[in-house]
Symmetry: C2
Subunit: 132 residues, 2 copies
């Protein structure tokens, strides 16, 4: 396996991390994601990590880097399905996953992305009585 599949669904790209990440795989994922955001105009990247029992600083950095690059391309990154033990470890390690939103599961993560898409939609249409 040299590539992690990226699923396009609505305005989101969904990635499920199931395998041990290594340098080359992480780099390939970042490249594939950015290429796909550019090609599809996706507004959100959902990374599902429920299979990961450990998120070390390498994976933490990879997530932060993917989020930063995606943001440049105007897509928001949401990490979904983090195990409670992983959350505890991340806080203990001081890895803050800057710039990354989290969601309990993919469904809620998708809701975040959809909210963003409908904001776009509102902004694009002629709105009357716009508040705030």
């Amino acid at each position: 396996m040299d590539r992690i599949p990226i699923l396009k669904l609505g305005g989101a790209l969904i990635v499920t991390i199931q395998v041990d990440m290594h340098d080359r795989l992480a780099l390939a994922l970042e490249e594939d994601l950015t290429a796909m955001i550019a090609r599809t105009g996706a507004r959100g990247v959902l990374i599902e990590i429920s299979a990961l029992e450990i998120v070390d600083s390498f994976i933490g950095r990879m997530l932060v880097s993917i989020a930063a690059v995606s943001r440049m391309l105007d897509a928001e990154t949401v990490v979904a399905g983090m195990r409670p033990a992983v959350a505890i470890t991340l806080v203990e390690l001081g890895l803050e996953l800057t710039g990354i939103k989290t969601a309990l599961n993919v469904e809620r993560g998708m809701a975040l992305v959809q909210a963003r898409l409908s904001e776009d939609h509102d902004r694009g249409s002629d709105l009357e009585g716009l508040e705030d």
Copy 2:
């Protein structure tokens, strides 16, 4: 990795196959899927196999078995993202994936599941002028 993560999204369960399947993993996936169909009332199971360069008779049987069990629980199985080379091999091997719908990608597969959900919805509501 002893479990393949299953993502619930709308009325569908989405599974991305990325790793080499072996007996125990295939069995665990089937068990997890059936339990999750029962718990969530999902109407569709989407299995994304774009990462698979080879679908041998073991994986073929696994897919057919998952589809058969899912059907018992009133959920339809859609295999998405099959590589062209895999399709050729399956036909050559005479593996017909009975009872399984296929879709070019997850987005189209999701459309199949959504169509089924809206059929449910129509049937549940008071319909007038129902044809056929």
